[in-house]
Amino acid sequence: MKFIKKYMVNLILGLGFFAVLTIVGCASTTDIVDRSGAQLWGENCARCHNIRPPQSLTDAQWEIAGMHMRTRANLSGIVTRKIIEFLKTAN
């Protein structure tokens, strides 16, 4: 009984935590798909490493690097395309 109670408390706390995060996430920011390529570039790349300037690679290289990073960072197709398009425009 004690075992079940302990896990129920942990489960409720966990679900509560995720619920709060979901509400915060959904309420406070613009829809991801509506964001510009520049904004998505800054948000997604800077989470793990310094952002590299658009001029550091050629347009063709950004196409390839974009596909590599799409897999690594679990980016959706539309987000990847917007980031690559921005990098090519700014290059």
């Binding site: 309420a27 406070s28 050629t58 063709a60 679990n74």
Partner: protein
């Protein structure tokens, strides 16, 4: 003589005409023509990173180490892609060549990618996202994520299905993978992650979920399970289960004139206790790390804006009755100087306590300098 002059004039005129036709008409043409001959314009690209370490351990000779990790990328079309990384290093007095990963990827749709081959462990956030020398903010990796061992596999050999989906302003990430899984090592009761020849028909499975409620914050949970015992032995039903939690927060804070970066990851590993010698103990291990870094990148001073200050605490705790039941706790403090967005000097000092059976503690400390370059 006149004929010779006429012939020479004709040849020069023809050469000039051909040269004029082949010249680009404006700068845009010239740029696109140059790009055709640059690396990466033929769907193939070589990138990667390099590093050199200087290590001065306590009461031991100082050492240099070096490594070079070329990454090969090939995009066949908008769906088909190949990526591979080779690690070449001189480390711990040995020269090693390792296939870090090599996988073929196929994009099924905007939200799902299939990959097969040897791939970085999706459950291991540090290895998958943060381990390259120009990204890792310290010259060392947390002990438990062990690139070459530890409590969580660095790579898997198998296949994966992965992707991410935006949900309004937030995002979820998901990965399912199946692999050879680790093997049981009866010498120390632990598991060996370098499994290139499976010891049973069971395949390891794993799941990873990530949730990003705001762009700066990512939290994740991962689960792995595999039968690790050798088939047709009394250990054939022994399995290992891993739970992993990770956390990442990076934000530019105007008031501090810089960027705060927080990272953490905790791993719990349970290996079944079959109560057959030598495995007659509760085989539970855990490890983790927490790291904070600050770079005052928005100050006016050119020197200070390139500095970064880092602190990491990490630990590994193995079972009390296991042959290797050390508890290791380590603190590392570091200062980095960024030369460019992907190259830096790192200077770190680490202090490690090792608690052995009976409670006695030994202490080790060392200085590590590193230059890392991502290209």
């Amino acid at each position: 003589m006149k004929n010779i002059r006429f012939i020479l004039f004709s040849i020069i005129t023809l050469i000039f005409c051909f040269a004029s036709q082949s010249l680009p008409q404006d700068n845009t043409d010239l740029k696109s023509q140059i790009q055709k001959f640059q690396s990466g314009s033929h769907q193939f690209m070589v990138t990667g990173y390099a590093l050199t370490n200087f290590i001065k351990p306590q009461n031991e000779p100082s050492q240099f180490e070096t490594g070079f990790n070329p990454i090969f990328l090939y995009k066949a079309n908008d769906r088909l892609f190949f990526e591979a990384e080779i690690e070449l290093e001189i480390e711990d007095g040995e020269q090693n060549i390792t296939l870090e990963y090599a996988q073929i990827l196929y994009t099924l749709n905007d939200y799902l990618i299939f990959g097969a081959g040897k791939f970085l462990n999706p459950a291991n956030y540090f290895i998958e996202r943060l381990h390259p020398a120009w990204i890792n903010k310290l010259p060392t990796m947390p002990m438990f994520v062990g690139h070459h061992g530890g409590m969580l596999a660095g790579q898997h050999l198998g296949f994966q299905l992965r992707g991410g989906t935006p949900i309004k302003g937030s995002k979820i990430e998901y990965v399912f993978f199946m692999s050879m899984g680790p093997t049981l090592d009866l010498d120390d009761g632990f598991i060996d992650f370098k499994n290139y020849e499976d010891n049973n028909n069971n395949k390891g499975i794993g799941l990873k979920f990530g949730f990003l409620p705001i762009p700066e914050l990512a939290i994740g949970y991962a689960f792995e399970n595999a039968t690790v015992g050798e088939e047709n032995t009394q250990f054939e039903n022994v399995s290992a289960t891993t739970h992993v939690v990770d956390f990442s927060y990076a934000k530019d804070i105007r008031g501090l004139k810089g960027t705060i970066d927080l990272k953490a990851q905790v791993v719990w590993l349970n290996i079944d206790n079959p109560n057959i010698a030598p495995l007659t103990f509760e085989n539970n291990s855990n490890g983790g790390y927490a790291q904070i870094a600050f770079r005052p990148g928005n100050v006016d001073n050119d020197f200070f804006k390139n500095l970064e200050f880092v602190y990491r605490y990490d630990w590994t705790d193995k079972p009390d009755n296991a042959p290797e039941n050390e508890l290791m706790k380590r603190s590392t403090i570091g200062i980095n100087y960024w030369l460019s967005s992907s190259s830096l000097f790192k200077f770190a000092y680490e202090n490690k306590d090792i608690v052995v059976p009976g409670g006695s503690t030994t202490n080790e400390h060392r200085f590590i300098g590193q230059i890392a370059f991502g290209f």
